[in-house]
Amino acid sequence: MATRTPKLMTVEDAAELIRDGDTIGIGGFITTNKPCALIRRLTRLRCKHLTVVAAPSGPELDLMLANDMIDRLITPYCGAEAVSPILPFFQKWAGRRFQVDEVDNGTLIAMLKAQIQRVPFLPVNVVGTSIPDLNPRVKVIDDPFGGPPIAVVKPIEIDVAIIHATRADRWGNVQHFGPLFIDHLFAQAAKKVIVTVERLVPNATIRGNALLTSLPSAFVDVIVEAPYGAHPGGSHNFYRLDTERLRMFVDGAKAYFAGNPEPWNSYMELFVDGPATHGEYCEMVGMSNMFKLSLERLDEES
């Protein structure tokens, strides 16, 4: 009898599935559950001419922008909240070195849902904003039922979605121990789906908690076991964001624009181009530093 085919790959092999010119979808939310290990690898490869469709984004996106990997960007936000309300490469180069198709969360979600549902457009409540002027996929049309004109947005095809989640089995069943954000929409809209997870678990663990499965194997092509795969961002119920290393990133980027590229180049060398694998990256950060990010430490008091 034939046996079920596992979907496991390494970070390094999975990154090779993304080609220059692809449209990629990035899950997570700002500095939480971003597939950073995979994006670092893509950056090390200097993948080019990407169209990036992303949930509200943080430094992982700025890293790609810094390395001129993105031709066209579709995201509602690029910042790192308290660490840096807006990120340097995005801020300085938006519109100049890469095109921005302006969206808000609602427009982005509708764009993905139109693709998922195979409908030519979905309406969005952005009439009167600049979004119809600043996004070629958005158009204002007459309401066929006689109401005021309404904005509609066209679907977008995603070649590869990259997502970070809590755990999965080897067959591709994924669980998030926290908010899904719009990871499920990227998975449904994409032709190929790569998910990095903190932990691989037995299929019986998934089946025993089937209500928690956020992405069934029918939507997932590749599972990558990558503990700390969302670092320097946070990961649901595992670790919080690494403020210290995020500041190194932001300070390096700011120095770059202040005419001092040294700290930025050093950041790139230490954390992106240096480590040959995700394991080596973790060692570069230092596992004692990683362990300090454990969420339980926050819970001492409350």
Binding site: M1, A2, T3, R4, T5, K113, I116, Q117, R118, P120, D169, W171, N173, H184, Q188, N203, I206, R207, A210, L211, T213, L215, P216, S217, A218, F219
Partner: protein
């Protein structure tokens, strides 16, 4: 379960018509296909499971809201109820109906029934008659068929009787579009899915001629004559020059079908 455990007596009878239909369905499946199973469709359920338990361990099954992997199930106690509490412990994920509908573009196969089918594979679950406020026969409703048939990659239509009132020149209503008025009409309507692939009745298996999309005889079920099919079809069925014999399952496949999948023997009638 090793074949050695199948009692010899279970293999004595040659394949029954419904077993052959199930086997035909099994042969269409490819490993890795994503398939939606319905309730009260034991023939298609048996066919998909037969493929799953033999050649296709990576088949992904959705049964109503459950995404299940069933290749390790020892025995299926009720082929009509694949989303049963007994089987739901094999579920790896449970999704809402709208999330499931959003998954239909990835669906390789689904199955639907019909009150009426016409020669272009359009189907009707709404009702028979011409006045919707005074139908001769009211059907149960379209359920999911309209949108699923529009979007999923392929589907099969399965009806319980082969009669002129079922296979009609023109459906009184259309709950799902097959190939519309035939030819490239489906594409012109902008429907993203591939349309119906096969029609399965107790007398025959039909496909659609690739250009005209006119329904065409493919296999006669054992003991059924061509005349019997032609006379019981309410439209002019395309008849190919050679009607291929339907493939027969191996003893091993028949053993799995009878001992593990159809333990109640609902297909052996």
């Amino acid at each position: 379960m090793a074949l050695a455990n199948v009692p010899e007596s279970l293999l004595e009878a040659p394949p029954y018509p419904m077993e052959l239909m199930a086997y035909f369905i099994a042969q269409q499946m490819r490993n890795g296909d994503y398939v939606a199973l319905g309730t009260n469709l034991p023939v298609s359920t048996a066919g998909v499971l037969l493929a799953h338990l033999t050649r296709c361990p990576d088949i992904k099954i959705s049964a109503l809201s459950y995404f299940m992997h069933l290749a390790r199930v020892e025995r299926f106690h009720d082929l009509g109820q694949v989303a049963s509490p007994r089987l739901s412990r094999w579920a790896e994920s449970i999704w809402s109906l709208d999330a499931l509908l959003d998954a239909v573009p990835r669906m390789d196969w689904s199955f639907t029934g019909a009150l009426q089918i016409d020669k272009f594979g359009n189907t009707n679950l709404i009702g028979v008659g011409d006045d919707p406020t005074n139908l001769k026969f009211r059907g149960p409703g379209s359920v999911g068929s309209s949108t699923v048939a529009a979007i999923c990659r392929n589907y099969m239509i399965h009806v319980g009787s082969h009669a002129p009132r079922v296979l009609v020149e023109r459906c009184d209503f259309r709950s799902a579009v097959g190939f519309g008025e035939g030819g490239d009409h489906r594409q012109r309507l902008g429907l993203p899915g591939g349309g119906p692939k096969f029609v399965i009745t107790p007398k025959a298996i039909m496909d659609f001629e690739p250009e005209s999309k006119h329904m065409r005889l493919k296999h006669l079920l054992p003991g059924v004559t061509l005349d019997e099919v032609v006379n019981n079809t309410g439209f002019e069925l395309m008849i190919p020059e050679i009607i291929e014999e339907i493939d027969l399952p191996s003893r091993k496949e028949l053993g799995i079908l009878r001992a593990r999948i159809d333990v109640q023997g609902v297909l052996r009638r």
